[in-house]
Amino acid sequence: MIEVKNLFHKYDNQSEYAVNDVSFKINKGEIFGFLGPSGAGKSTVQNIMTGLLELQKGDILYNNSSLDQMGLDFFNQIGVSFEHPNLYSKLSGYENLKYYAGLFDVPTKEPEYLLNQVGLKEAADKEAKSYSKGMKQRLVFARALLNDPKILFLDEPLSGLDPSIAREIKNIIINKKKNKTTIFLTTHNMFVAEELCDKVAFINEGEIVALDTPRNLKLRYGEKSVKVEYKQDNNLQKEYLFPENQADNLRLKKLIGSNNIETIHSQEATLEQIFIKITGRELA
């Protein structure tokens, strides 16, 4: 289990806390989504949790042992996939994995197996500098899996991937969860979080503003909405309406009466809509 207690962090050149009294727990084998817009403090929290940033105030416990007390063996237990691909561009995909695997004290997976898993088998011997952004992202993801980590930190793992590859990566993440790997997923993509996470925390301006399962968040904050597509002056228009809201209810009735409706779908409020409702900010 991971327990983050009253975490604070301030950067040298800033007066405000980048992370302000953040606390949460992650159970073993859980996917914990850490959601928020750019600059909200997501990566700062992940960097403190992985030891990349100094623990200034608060505590982080891994199975009741404080991060401060953990030696280098801690890094045998974790895997980190970074948002910005940090690879050795002069090394091939295979070499990037092979040499990184050599730094661990625990058995590691074969680079060929992982490259195949993330769809980079054909490009294994090409230098990483020739990879597209998506390929680099997949290689960084594969690198995080080398030591078969018990805890996996994923920072925007699906960013820049085409849908079919993203599907493959999601399946790998789901399989890791089935194998009891604890996953800390940092993203601003609410659809990814909704699909994968057991629990999500919304972070805004360094503070956690909501923390629960996606379903409970929807029950607590969401209202059922209706997506209506209709023709107006030969153009297709789209509107989201909340029938529980009286004005939206009247608008919906008016649209139905106009006979211009092309499609109409009822839907739950998305996590993104809930985030906007809570923080007043958009995620992008």
């Binding site: 040298d12 280098l72 691909p85 690879l87 050795y88 040499y99 661990f104 690198r143």
Partner: protein, 347 residues
């Protein structure tokens, strides 16, 4: 730890080779071998060249010097031609010899930029020359040696310690910085920091990769200039100590800069200071005490002692010990610098 170190060293070597650094080193070594063997002469006259107009009866001075292998082009047959030659080459001194064997006089013609020492030396040499012509040499001058007399070292070979020294200093100092900046730019160091490898492994792997390139250069230069007439083991020990020290110095400084452009100005200052002992090497009479504490001094003069031994056995041991002590100190500094600037961020 050994496996991690070997693995990381292999990674660093692969990156160095992908950057074609090995080809640069081999190319540089080949150029140096060509310079030593075919371009730089074995004998170089450092003082101005003397041109003679022998106006004595029977040209007694010219005859004597020609018999003693002085080149024919050093003589002219008229005063006018002497002045013409002096005007053509500013690194020449003219000597007009008048009179006869028993009463010889000299007129020395300078360019105007010579010091008194040059004139005094030439005057003494001409007086001695006449004594020899007259078989009237001063037998009361004795020469003694503190150590066995060493063979005269050809000028081109005398430059080999500088050639090795320059590469060890440059390679150790600059190449490690290039790799550090490449890692900073690509972010590879961030991935390293979430692995169970430590700073010592990181530093040692960088040092080792650089050392292998230094050995490559050293082997090519030594094999093709001095062959097997040198003590390779001792030279490798000294070069190893020097290369380790310079790599640690380069690493300690480069981690404080964002990129190569920012670093290069500081690098030039450091390299200029490290190059100072070359002044003492080329002009032995200029030897300020503080030069001896520069690590480059130990490398340069250690190499000279190994390649062209002076018989002072203790010199080498002292220089090696100094390098070891400086290396230990620099390792501590490098570990602190790397820990502080590369292994932690946003403190």
């Amino acid at each position: 730890m050994l496996n991690k170190y070997l693995n990381l060293t292999k990674q660093n070597l692969t990156i160095l080779m992908r950057n074609n650094f090995h080809l640069i080193v081999i190319g540089l070594a080949v150029i140096m071998v060509i310079l030593v063997n075919f371009v730089i002469p074995g004998q170089v006259k450092i003082t101005p060249k003397e041109l003679f107009f022998d106006n004595t009866n029977n040209n007694i001075v010219q005859d004597y010097l020609l018999k003693n292998d002085v080149q024919k082009d050093r003589f002219v047959d008229s005063e006018k031609k002497l002045y013409e030659r002096l005007n053509q080459n500013s690194n020449t001194l003219g000597v007009i010899i008048d009179g006869n064997k028993d009463n010889t006089s000299f007129t020395i013609i300078g360019q105007g930029n010579e010091n008194d020492e040059a004139f005094n030396l030439l005057s003494a040499a001409m007086a001695n020359l006449i004594d020899r012509i007259k078989n009237n040499q001063n037998e009361n001058i004795n020469i003694q040696y503190l150590r066995p007399q060493q063979p005269n070292i050809p000028f081109n070979q005398k430059l080999i310690p500088i050639i090795i020294f320059t590469e060890v200093i440059l390679l150790g100092f600059l190449l490690v910085a290039v790799i550090v900046f490449q890692e900073k730019e690509e972010g590879g160091i961030k991935a390293f920091r979430v692995s169970p490898a430590n700073t010592i492994v990181y530093i040692l792997s960088k040092v080792s990769a650089n050392l292998i390139l230094a050995y490559l250069y050293l082997l090519i230069v030594l094999l093709f200039t001095l062959g097997f007439n040198v003590n390779y083991l001792n030279i490798f020990v000294l070069t190893t100590l020097g290369s380790i020290l310079m790599t640690l110095l380069g690493l300690s400084i480069s981690v404080f800069f964002k990129n190569l452009e920012e670093f290069i100005f500081v690098a030039l200052i450091v390299l200029s200071i490290l190059a100072l002992p070359m002044m003492t090497y080329l002009t032995p009479s200029f030897s300020p005490d503080f030069f001896r504490f520069l690590p480059s001094y130990s490398v340069l003069f250690g190499l000279r002692e190994l390649l062209f031994t002076s018989g002072k056995n203790s010199i080498l041991f002292n220089l090696n010990m100094l390098l070891v002590l400086e290396g230990i100190g620099m390792f501590i500094i490098a570990t602190w610098s790397v820990n502080r600037k590369l292994m932690k961020e946003g403190k």
